[in-house]
């Protein structure tokens, strides 16, 4: 194996990843005070991005058979109900994850 070439691949991925994160700062960050339109998008966008990330986590879900989507559907319902009720991050995420693990390992094998 050519480890030097592999190191080059890793370095390329590292640089490109950083560049995507740097992009908005390089584009809008140099002026003093952010443009009002950018400030507005920056303030409002997180709600939309989080929603897209939820979809991103569920992207491989199959609705064709019950065992394929039931574990995630049930676990998400558990997370949502617990969170609306208790509003405690750790309880909601911990119980939801354990519930999901039990379902994929035991119930819907």
């Amino acid at each position: 194996m050519d480890y030097l070439y592999d190191a080059g691949i890793v370095l390329t991925v590292a640089v490109c990843t950083f560049l995507t994160r740097l992009f908005p700062f390089a584009l809008f960050g140099r002026k003093k005070g952010t443009h009002t339109m950018v400030a507005y998008i920056g303030q409002i966008l997180p709600s939309a991005v989080i929603a897209v990330l939820v979809v991103y986590c569920l992207k491989t879900i199959e609705i064709t058979s019950l065992p394929a989507f039931a574990p995630q559907a049930i676990a998400i319902a558990v997370v949502a109900v617990l969170h609306v009720w208790k509003r405690n991050f750790l309880i909601s995420i911990g119980a939801g994850t354990v519930c999901y693990m039990v379902m994929v390992q035991v119930v819907f094998r």
């Binding site: 809008f28 920056g42 997180p46 939309a48 991005v49 989080i50």
Partner: protein, 230 residues
Amino acid sequence: MKKLISFIFMRTLPVLFAFLFLGIAFGLLLQQAGYNAVWAFMISTFVYAGSMQFVLIPFLGTQASILTIILMTLSINCRHIFYGLSFIDKFKSLGKKYPYMIFSLTDETYSLLCSTKIPKELDEKKVFFGIALFTHIYWISGSVMGALLGELITFDTTGIEFAMTALFVVIFIEQWMSAKSHIPAAAGLICGTVSLLIFGPGRFILPALLAAVVIILACKNTIQGKEVRL
């Protein structure tokens, strides 16, 4: 100081679980591909991008062209372009830590920074930097552990990656409950789902985010009107 660290630790705890296990999975796969813990450490320290690192593994040892690697990285990570928009002024105020904050802006760090309400007695800049640093350390620790002793883990961890989904769902609910206008969140859900159906799981994020930005801009008056009235 003690209060600051315990606040950051409690806020980042869900990511600790998720990153330890996803990191272990990454380290294990990397080790099986013939790359030891030093590689796991270097990749997780300097790349620090969850899904991209998993995609990277099969390319190691293949002499894939650098152009392919560049295009692949940009297409998978292009969603990050949108994350910085919310932190341009805030990160700048962090001075020397500004480049590190940009470097460490992963999906999870972004979500935590967006959703953390900082208590008055704590310094916002220190909390921001702490969240970024802690989550980075969790990720590095997980991947090194996976590469070193992944095979020794005997209990079945199948499904533990759901912690990430749960984290995003919880943050979504928090934002829904505190938001004055539900248009942005609804736009995200609808654009995400429609884009997924049209473009498929591999390529849906960028069109979804672009569409969400367009909707947010088109509904500017409605969204801002609510913020003023309430």
